[in-house]
Symmetry: C2
Subunit: 169 residues, 2 copies
Amino acid sequence: MAETMSSTSLGGESLLYLTDEQLRKGIEAMFFAYRGFTADPDRILGDMDYGRAHHRAVHFIHRSPGNTVGNLLAILGVTKQSLNRVLRTLFDDGLVEARVGKKDKRERNLYLTEKGRALERELSDAQRARMRAAYRAAGPQAVQGFRTVLEAMMDPKMRRQFQRMESGQ
Amino acid sequence: MAETMSSTSLGGESLLYLTDEQLRKGIEAMFFAYRGFTADPDRILGDMDYGRAHHRAVHFIHRSPGNTVGNLLAILGVTKQSLNRVLRTLFDDGLVEARVGKKDKRERNLYLTEKGRALERELSDAQRARMRAAYRAAGPQAVQGFRTVLEAMMDPKMRRQFQRMESGQ
DNA sequence: CTTGGAATGTCAACAAGGCTGACTTATCCT
DNA sequence: AGGATAAGTCAGCCTTGTTGACATTCCAAG
């Protein structure tokens, strides 16, 4: 199970990045970095009546306008009831609107209103600013590696969806 | 605010990794990867009466045995009341023990019991296995970049603490 | 054309894990 | 002696996740 690397294992120095020690550092880095990653949007949202769940919904609606509820559910990985609570407040506050599907009238296509786009912009500006600073500080080579490891960390199913999503322009 | 990169900006091709488009991909990768990162421990914890908060506490107590409560609070970035709820269940279930500080008797030094170490091992084995697979798939160069970007993403204060923590063996 | 299944929405209840605020106890230090 | 610090605790609130049950609307296949 543990599959601990010993420093005397075959392969020698080139595999030292796979020691439990190095893995632990990576795990902790991931934990602290994610805190930084969400800190700015969280701060902004804290002043309003919204939370991280609203941010995620708004982000992915902005990202693919006209997406259906079911699709959003698959992306966010939460239950319909959870998402619905969030969507309802976004409807009520006029940030998101749902249009009945043209082809299949059971479906709802989700769109941001102008007000919704304004919030999205505020949140993503903050998050991008931090990301940009980190990218710039680390350089293109590091960013390339960053992206590679993140993709390898995803669940295979999620990774396929991600790659499909990101390649589609 | 937006500081959007235009493709005609100075610097040319070498800065294309800083476009809003690339940043958005990084942001989404971070979101999906974090889900993978926590998926295995979450699955294990779901079967017990514990959650992610317990995992974090157990991890950092294991990582620096004898740490004080206040120190743990600073690392985890939660309130005393939040941590206390978690610690109490860990005490009650005999996974963690608190010894009165030798120097300063107000302090409590936290340690895992054998039972606590067993849980920690189970959780970190699962998490490390995924991390190891990702590292191996990505290669040492990519891992180097991954770590660099993650550190750059942390809050400066957190980054200092992290670097102090990780350098101290 | 009817019927089964799919997409959506909704009600209710519950749990984890954050938070604030107020307060106690024990200990340390000046 | 008295203020500051470390820890613990009680009470209450919020967000965001969960299950389960059920209604509506619509598509599609028999």
